[in-house]
Symmetry: C2
Subunit: 208 residues, 2 copies
């Protein structure tokens, strides 16, 4: 379903629904929007939305799965474009910065807050998302440690958890302030202190 439309081509209905729902979930939380919100924005009836996604749980699961897929593609793109592990980490933080600049929280960070109210399959998918991110980060960190461009003071896995948590938290706290630079400052501190004993002047990441 949903064969990737050529650029300029109109997206199909299911895709447009997911686009709107994704933004609403990222800004208002999964319990903070309704079918009516999507309906009014797309000028499509609520009943039509239920045709594409019978229940809100179905919609939510489709949301996470697409988000995780897109995120994995972004990570693959980083792998293609960057060789230096530090550049990869900067690009990784840049993904978060781009999301935040769009006034959004990471979808899965937001759903982590909603975790106790989510249908089980959605909760499981949130955890998978974090696991995949952690695994990717750990690989990059280990690569850097082996190449001696990074000097870790803990296991790659623990450093990866710290980076993931730190970036999610930086987004969470920065968003009420509406201040991207607040995120950037924290992200830089996080990567600098975790990846080098004596930080040698870092740029502001690829974001924004």
């Amino acid at each position: 379903m949903a064969p990737a439309p050529r650029s300029g081509e109109a997206a199909d209905t299911a895709t447009r629904i997911l686009d709107v729902a994704e933004r609403l979930a990222q800004t208002r939380g999964f319990n903070g929007f309704s079918y009516a919100d999507i309906s009014s924005e797309l000028e499509i009836s609520k009943a039509s939305l239920h045709y594409h996604f019978p229940s809100k749980a179905d919609l939510g699961q489709a949301l996470i799965e697409r988000y995780a897929t897109h995120f994995a593609e972004a990570l693959a793109t980083i792998e293609e474009r960057e060789r230096d592990p530090i550049a990869k980490l900067d690009a990784y933080a840049g993904i978060y910065a781009d999301v935040l600049q769009d006034q959004r929280m990471c979808l899965c960070g937001m759903l982590a807050a909603d975790y106790d109210t989510l249908p089980k399959p959605m909760g499981d998918a949130v955890i998978r998302f974090f696991d995949e991110n952690e695994a990717w980060l750990a690989r990059v960190l280990e690569q850097g440690a082996n190449a001696d461009t990074l000097h870790l003071s803990r296991s790659p896995r623990e450093e990866a958890q710290a980076i993931l948590s730190g970036l999610e938290g930086a987004m969470l706290v920065a968003r009420p302030y509406g201040d991207l630079s607040r995120f950037q400052a924290v992200a830089n501190a996080l990567l600098a202190s975790l990846t080098s004993p004596s930080p040698p002047e870092r740029g502001s990441g690829s974001g924004a």
Copy 2:
């Protein structure tokens, strides 16, 4: 209102309402619970809840204000008990660990996720909470830097933001895993790397 009851004495109704609402807000988010939830748990009618807190916005604001007051008291207690800035930071992280062990998210971290849907006064109070925490942390960090027990690689304010964000993010991500040790690992990494150039074996914080 609500004169602190002597230990063992039954709390008044408004306090019991706030206790239940606080837990619900911390676990399910502000849009994830209703007056009916509190009503059934306390076996008090919904109408009675509205007598004490006319609107949910009123309830929410009372929730944040009490939480911020309690938090400030906890920080004052740390100041009384600990002299070493590192011990103060460990105790600070211990507060978060205690909240997480109780299966909860920081109230204001949770409300930060809900920020876009909150009544304006609640949103403002969330920001004040973060500001106060950041200011307290910055003072402790500066104290440590002056006493030469901490070696900061950035301004106290930036380090404070990184610690606050890092702990909030660590809670956010650890909660779906239901794993306190995951939080502890990240908190230790955060404080160790931010406060000493060559980490000299740190304990696991004062939390649980």
